[in-house]
């Protein structure tokens, strides 16, 4: 839920990066953190296991600038991708304003993508959201892998509606900011309807 603070003249929005394990959600956030101006970003918090797998969430607050005199602050979250962390994933979707689905392009991960997307739809529903209506962007990550499934095939299996689709290699930043801009644009566009 977008939080508009008239006293601090701030709009706060929550964006969640969702997708299967090891798909590159945390890598997206790390790239954004690394490339953002230190004055416009907060600390990157990672609640991870000893082996660096996301345990609960990663969190990165980011100031995008001012719109109509209001500072726009985005809170970026990732969910843990591993199947057995479903209870945590549900919690993180609470109050979400926009979702980025980070799909893993490797052919061996297609089934995991489809499963995770199904899981997203059902967890959103549990929180009272409809995947068909919430601001939503699809990112096809790891396009540089030798076993990457052709884009058209991935779209056929993963596109849910009229969402924007971005090809990405989060490791080197390809597509990362395009994805972020697209979802931020959609979330801010929603303010026209809901403010």
């Amino acid at each position: 839920m977008t939080f508009i603070n008239y006293a601090a003249r701030e709009i706060n929005c929550k964006i969640v990066y969702y997708g299967p394990g090891l798909g590159g959600k945390t890598t997206n956030l790390k790239w954004i953190y690394g490339k953002s101006n230190p004055t416009s970003r907060g600390k990157l918090i990672s609640l991870a296991t000893e082996t660096d797998r996301t345990l609960f969430f990663d969190f990165l607050p980011l100031d995008l600038g001012t719109i109509r005199g209001f500072k726009t602050r985005f809170h970026l979250y990732t969910v843990p991708g591993q199947v057995f962390y479903d209870a945590s994933r549900k919690l993180i979707l609470k109050g979400v304003d926009g979702v980025v689905f980070v799909a893993d392009s490797q052919s061996a991960r297609m089934e995991a993508n489809v499963e995770s997307l199904k899981n997203l739809r059902s967890n959103l529903r549990d929180q009272g959201y409809d995947l068909a209506r919430v601001p939503y962007v699809l990112q096809l990550n790891k396009r540089d892998m030798a076993t990457a499934v052709p884009v058209e095939e991935m779209k056929r299996q993963l596109v849910m509606r009229d969402e924007a689709v971005f090809e990405a290699v989060a490791q080197n930043g390809t597509g990362v900011f395009d994805t972020l801009k697209a979802i931020a644009r959609m979330v801010l566009g929603e303010l026209r309807k809901t403010a």
């Binding site: 508009i4 726009t72 919690l91 644009r185």
Partner: protein, 159 residues
Amino acid sequence: MVLHEEDFHLIKDLIQRLRAEANARVICLVDRNGQQIACVGEAERLDMTALASLAAGNVAATDSLARLIGEKDFSTLYHEGEKDNLHLSMVGDKVILVVIFDERSSLGLVRLRVKKHAPELGAALERMRQKSLKAKSGKAAASPFTDITDEDIDSLFGN
């Protein structure tokens, strides 16, 4: 949720009073989604944005644990450190009251004062929530965001 200036000052006054009576270092109100609503005290050295997000995550995880063992929720969480301690409690359904205190106070005092001030704080937050809902359902025209343009949004990205 919408937080108007007059509500912000009212809420800030309330938590300022609580802070004085509880001898707390910092008091902060955070919504369940991890957004900071208001903060008073020695907060400038703390990363309050991260604190708000982690406090909300902590409460959400603990609530789920409560439900797993058949409880509705755990209304209070307490973390004890060597110097500083953290007391988290729910005010109404939606807002988390975070109290950070050190040896100048005690858990007993914090609990007592939180209990005393929670109803007034809860009522103020509920009024704020109702106002926010009313604005959403009827008076959208008063909002500065109903007429933002694509150009406004693009300007954020330097396009």
